[in-house]
């Protein structure tokens, strides 16, 4: 039994989640607290991956990240390599596809923060950036954890977008969900079953962690 696809999925989910938190936390803060013009349009754009079929989303990413695409060309100039069929490529695709799954719990968590704390911080001379790091983030740890867990879980099960951008290159882009699909296609049901069971256990543990966090959050 080859467990490398499962490890690759974990690596992809871990790295992408880290980047997602770094990108999405300030973005969610701005969406909740900073009066931005056209906020509704920005939020709708961010939420697109929730409603678009992954293949459609993957197709557009393929156009943008391909060697003729604007992002692909830029990446090629910077790193002298293509994004398609690489680990970096599927990581970027997974990040873009998971943004709304991270933004939503972060926004919910930031919204729950008592506004008086922010006003208090402003009166005490805090800038928006300082307030974000010194007040908002420390008071949103359960929300951050929930966002990280949801992101990890979503990327562990990611299939369509990764297939479109990364294909199935062993030890590079062949993550667990793609390996299972290929095992089934090749009628290697025992291996498909083992890998599926491993994913099932990981997913259950993740959901259990989310529910425990929710319960603790309500209790506090």
């Amino acid at each position: 039994m080859d467990y490398f696809p499962l490890l690759l999925s974990c690596k992809l989910a871990g790295i992408s989640t880290l980047f997602l938190l770094i990108i999405c936390a300030p973005l969610a803060y701005a969406l909740v607290f900073v009066p931005v013009r056209g906020k509704l349009f920005i939020e709708s754009l961010i939420g697109l991956p929730l409603v678009l079929p992954p293949t459609v989303f993957g197709f557009y990413l393929l156009l943008i990240m391909g060697e003729q695409g604007i992002f692909g060309r830029f990446y090629k100039i910077l790193f002298d390599t293509s994004l398609l069929f690489t680990f970096s490529g599927i990581a970027i695709a997974a990040i873009l596809h998971t943004v709304p799954y991270v933004i939503q719990p972060l926004k919910a968590s930031f919204t729950r923060i008592d506004r008086r704390l922010l006003e208090s911080a402003a009166v005490l001379g805090c800038s928006n950036v300082s307030c974000f790091f010194r007040v908002v983030l420390p008071n949103s740890l359960p929300g951050l954890a929930a966002a990280a867990i949801l992101s990890f879980a979503h990327i562990m099960g990611e299939f369509g977008v990764i297939l479109m951008i990364g294909g199935s290159i062993p030890k590079e882009t062949r993550v667990a969900s793609i390996a299972i699909f290929e095992y089934v296609e090749a009628m290697r049901y025992q291996e498909a079953g083992q890998l599926s069971l491993a994913l099932l256990i990981v997913s259950y543990m993740i959901l259990l962690a989310v529910n425990l966090l929710e319960k603790r959050n309500h209790a506090s």
């Binding site: 208090s120 402003a122 009166v123 005490l124 001379g125 800038s127």
Partner: protein, 237 residues
Amino acid sequence: MRLEISILKKLSHFTLEMELCCPAGELLALVGPSGSGKTTIARIISGLEQPDFGTIRLGENILCDTENGIRVPTRKRKLGYVFQEASLFPHLRIRDNVAFACDTPSRVDNLMDLLGISHLQDKKPSQISGGEQQRAALAQTLAVNPDLLLLDEPFSALDIETRHSLQQKFLEIKKELQIPIIMVTHDLQEASLLSDQIIAVRNGKKDHKWLTQFHGILLPRTSKEQEKLCPRQLAHA
């Protein structure tokens, strides 16, 4: 340093129009029924809300001048604001709360000693009483060495005993502070105990008549002190 304001703001039920002046070292109390606009005045002075028209001047500094488009952000106004319910940061220990905007450990120590909360320094806000939280909030506010102090019903959520002890403590501190202090309260006794001037506010405007009906509540002072406290109100009495 003297605080002078002249502001106008349209609110949902009335238009707030207020002119006031508070010299350094004096406490001006804004009294009036709930929903009369007292807190909004304090929030406008702090910059947490903006007036539609008007100016706010603190000494030589213009904090807000709508005509010339000047609006100094709250964080740059160098003021202290104690809210009705202490808004201490729940993730920080009391000492870290007091030191939030103060880099001088000795000042933090002195203020914690002065307000009698040194023994609470390692506790979280949720582990101490309301009165202790208000003391910590006052220490946090004074730690920034503000040019102006705003108090929004700071003692109203406390029981009588704690309120009285904190009012006495505040009277001691007030003598040391040579800055204008604006206090919002609906407690006339508290206003007459702590303040040098009282302005009655109703429906967003000064209402001298409102105070005269409660004249008996004001704590006894010499007639000269009372004249200074609420000159126009007495004239109507």
